[in-house]
Symmetry: C2
Subunit: 232 residues, 2 copies
DNA sequence: CAGTGGTCTAGACCACAGG
DNA sequence: CTGTGGTCTAGACCACTGG
C-alpha cells in the first residue's frame, strides 16, 4: 500500500518528488485530482490545494477538462520583495540614513507625464533624495508626486521622512508597475552615489496609480554594488 | 443588510476595497475570520482563502491568536517570470536565434566553484553562447555545467540547442538562486553584444542545484536596452 | 489557557473547454 | 455532452502563540 499523505504540504512534496524524479515526465498528463486523492488517502480538496500551489510555481499547467500536465519548460518565478528602503537597509543590519536634496513644485518632463498618464501641463511635486546605509550612499531617487494624494494632510515636505515611507503609509495604490534596467551614471548621479562617473548602476522605475489616478513616479538609482537577489 | 460576497474573489475585492478606502487603517486589527464569514454571508473557509491571498500579496499580516492586521508598510512583491530565452524573444514577436561561441571542458575559476559548492579542481563543461532577437544580440551567456547532469544522454554539445533550453528539459533542479546587477561591459562582451565598450548592461547570475548537487552556473549579460518589467 | 488562524473532510454544484 | 478543475459549505480538530 502506498504511503499516506494527509496534508497538502506532504502531497505537494510528493508531487514535486515525482516531477524531479521524472516519474512524471515533462509535458506528461498526470492523474486527475480524484484519483490522486484516492491514492494519497486524502480528500480531493487537499490534492487541489497542493496542485494549485505547484502550478503557481510554474511546474504544472492546469486546465479544466484538459487535466494537469507537467510543464515542459517551466517558467521560473522569481519574486522580488520590494520593501521600504529603511527596512531594506535595516534588514541588512546597517544603519539607515535619509537626506532630502531638493523639494519643489513644477511640471514634469513630457516622458514622465506620458508614463503617468497625466496632462503635460499638470504641476506636480518633485522630490530628490538620497538614502544611506551606514552613512554610505545606498539609493538616489528622483520622484514626482501627484499633489492630490497629499490633500488634507498637513504640509509634508519630506525633509525628515522619506517620500518612499510617507507615501506607503498615506497614499495607497491599487495598481503599479515596476521595471529594472542598467544605466551609466551621469556626473551628477555619480556624485550623489559617491562613485566614478559612468559607473554602471541598477535603475528601478516605479509607477503607481490609485484607481486610475497617478500617485507617484520614481526613478531610483542604486549604488553600483547593489544586487537584487531571490531564491527560486 | 450588507451585500453578500459569496465567492473568495468577491471577498478579496471587498477586503482590498476596505484597505484602500482606509476603512481598515494600516496597522489596524481586522475582525477575525468567523466574524467576517458571518458578515459576508459565506463560510469561514471562503474568508480564509481570500485573506490568505491578500496576505500573500503583502497587504495583510496574519498570525495565530494575534489575528490579522493591515500591513503598515506593505512589502511589494514583484514577480519576474523568467522563461527560456527563446520563449522570451518569441513572446515579443521577434525571431529567435542562437549561436554557440565556445564549448569545452575545464576547471572553473575559484569563485564559480565556491558559488556552486563544488571542489575547486572539479572539471566541468563550459559553454559560451549568444541569443539573438531578430538577428540582433539579445543575451550573452557564460555557463558552467556539471557533467553529471548529462550522464546517460547522447553527447550534447549545444551547437544547435541552447544549454538554456536543453537543461530545462533534461536537468531538473530543486533549488536555485538568481541575482540581478548592473555591470560595465568589457571590450569582449561589448563586441558580442554589439554595443560600445563600457556600456551599462544588466547581468543575471543564476545558480541551480538538484538535491544539493550543482547543476549549472550561468552569468548572462543582456543587451543594453534590456528591461525587466512586472506589475504590482 | 483560550482565541486565532491553519487545515482536513465529505459532499455538492458549477464553469469551462475538449472531443 | 461529459470530464476536469474550481469552488463553496458546515463542521471538526489542530497548532501555535499571545496574554
Amino acid at each position: 500500500m502506498t504511503a499516506q499523505f494527509r496534508n497538502w504540504q506532504a502531497v505537494q512534496d510528493e508531487v514535486l518528488r515525482r516531477i524531479h524524479a521524472r516519474e512524471w515526465m515533462p509535458g506528461e498528463l498526470i492523474p486527475n485530482e480524484a484519483d490522486l486523492a484516492q491514492e494519497f488517502g486524502c480528500a480531493r480538496a487537499t490534492v487541489n490545494r497542493a496542485l494549485r500551489a505547484v502550478a503557481q510555481n510554474g511546474l504544472l499547467e492546469r486546465r479544466r477538462k484538459a487535466g494537469t500536465r507537467v510543464a515542459a519548460q517551466p517558467v521560473a518565478k522569481a519574486t522580488l520583495n520590494i520593501a521600504v528602503f529603511r527596512k531594506e537597509v535595516e534588514d541588512r543590519g546597517q544603519k539607515y540614513g535619509y537626506h532630502r536634496i531638493e523639494y519643489r513644485r513644477g511640471v514634469p518632463p513630457m516622458p514622465v507625464c506620458a508614463a503617468m498618464k497625466v496632462p503635460a501641463d499638470r504641476p506636480m511635486i518633485f522630490v530628490r533624495a538620497l538614502h544611506l546605509a551606514d552613512d554610505m550612499p545606498y539609493a538616489y531617487e528622483n520622484r514626482w508626486i501627484n499633489p492630490d494624494v497629499m490633500r488634507g494632510d498637513e504640509e509634508e515636505e519630506f525633509d525628515r521622512v522619506s517620500a518612499n515611507e510617507w507615501l506607503l503609509e498615506h497614499a495607497p495604490y491599487t495598481d503599479g508597475e515596476i521595471s529594472f534596467s542598467a544605466s551609466s551614471a551621469t556626473q551628477d548621479e555619480a556624485d550623489y552615489l559617491g562613485c566614478p562617473a559612468a559607473s554602471a548602476v541598477m535603475v528601478m522605475d516605479r509607477l503607481t496609480w490609485n484607481s486610475g489616478a497617478a500617485v507617484t513616479s520614481v526613478r531610483v538609482l542604486f549604488a553600483p554594488s547593489h544586487k537584487l537577489r531571490t531564491v527560486l
